[in-house]
Symmetry: C3
Subunit: 206 residues, 3 copies
């Protein structure tokens, strides 16, 4: 097992902790967007997009550091995988917020609230787990819970999809809602891929 605790090594994890913090703030903004009216939604989506840019900055910083560092605290590919998965989580949340505004969708089905609550919980769990990436210890609860949440979100998504065609009649609204709930579903999937990547790396490093 490689020697870890040097300021140099640790900063990879500091950057990931910063990105995880963006995920938490982004998911909180997504919750606000659901409960806001059209006018406020636009401002909140703009804020969400700022957070997404901030996260991009951290990802970019991490990639550059990866390319300039000879000895990395985890395998280069593993650090790359963690960063790109975090990037996906952020992108799908940003996309969902963006579509809600762009499509002027108005009120959203109750189940969409459940989807977004799962996203927020995933982001919080990821931020809580981030400091433990350094030692790759005691991460089991994190990935088990994320997988449980993803299964729950998947059931909600499937019910939403079925309801969409049974309860909605306006094709435009069906197309719009389908895009939004699919972005949210992909967001949760991205959190699961991130958790699975963490599990795989933890097993390897143990």
């Amino acid at each position: 097992m490689r020697f870890r605790v040097t300021p140099h090594d640790s900063s990879f994890f500091d950057i990931m902790a910063e990105t995880a913090d963006c995920l938490v703030r982004g998911s909180a903004l997504l919750v606000q967007i659901l409960n806001a009216d059209m006018k406020d939604r636009k401002e909140l989506a703009a804020k969400l997009h700022e957070v997404e840019n901030e996260a991009d900055g951290f990802t970019h910083k991490l990639y550059q550091k990866l390319n300039q560092t000879f000895v990395t605290p985890l395998d280069r590919d593993d650090l790359y995988l963690l960063a790109s998965n975090m990037d996906d989580c952020m992108d799908y949340m940003d996309e969902a917020g963006d579509l809600i505004v762009l499509y002027k969708i108005g009120e959203l089905p109750k189940r969409v609230v459940a989807q977004v609550n799962v996203l927020q919980r995933c982001a919080e769990l990821t931020a809580e787990a981030a400091p433990r990436l350094r030692s790759m210890d005691s991460l089991r609860d994190y990935w088990v819970e994320i997988n449980r949440l993803e299964n729950e979100a998947d059931r909600e998504y499937r019910r939403l999809l079925a309801d969409l065609f049974e309860k909605e009649d306006d094709p435009k609204r069906i197309i719009k809602l389908k895009d939004i709930i699919t972005s949210l579903e992909r967001g949760v999937d991205a959190f699961e891929r991130l958790a699975n990547a963490v599990e795989t790396i933890a097993v390897k490093e143990s």
Copy 2:
């Protein structure tokens, strides 16, 4: 060329053969789903999902083995690529079966049957080829035939897409059918990516 035939090395290929067997059983269930009525479709899709879970178990087992094995029979990345491509094949077949039930789609256009028959043939060819992955010998016919089938499926898919907008008038049905035939098309594409990965690895190892 690395030494291959040790029980230890071989078991990577045993796991892939098990996964390929899941692909064959999954594609057979998909054929049954097309010909079944709504009630039976639900049960068959549940069975298909069980097969998909089984395949996931094998993929997970292979990844863990990859992370715990120092000397692998093929490059680590190549084994990873083969496993993740097999996983995609299964996921798209499962998704298609799932959507057929979820969307209560009723009768499907004839050409969808052709798409699914191609999927089944791809799965069978993959299972037949799996034992030859160990030696990476005489795999040419396999990838040539898969590529031929993918071209055939692609033509069917494009005709289906054109027909969809010419023959169907209900937007809901158009959206639903488009999702289903696209999942099937992606399934065939995944089998092609798998075959292309096998070709690339075979060339490298030769």
Copy 3:
């Protein structure tokens, strides 16, 4: 820094220059498709598809060379990444041209022309930058400009998407146009990923 200028090494870059030339010819055909009538569109899309096949041939050639070469002018993974990103650029342009014909879409919104002009500019910039990949020098302007163009294209895409639901009433036409503009948007995204890959590699090699 590895020694570069040997005929053997250089030919990787020759193949990429050939592929970049296909991107330029493909994007020019896409521009022609927009301005053509239904009948000519079909012929032009067939030509575009030939160019796509040609590009596939170069990508395949590069992968095979990668697998048969021991010392590569850039990291194996980086050459693979550049080639697969170029392949994506071509595929999305081909898909867009194909859908325009397949969907018998008739006249396209003005903003689609702007999207395709950006694609053509991206292809030209990529071809101009290709010879500089050998030395990885003076590529900054290239990736900065591609990123600027992608942001511009993204704004056009979002306006197109909003207009689609505000100005169009035929659900079929909405679904068709959404597919076409999304393929074009993904094409521009692929050029951005290619430029970002070049940046990452240049930083690493510097």
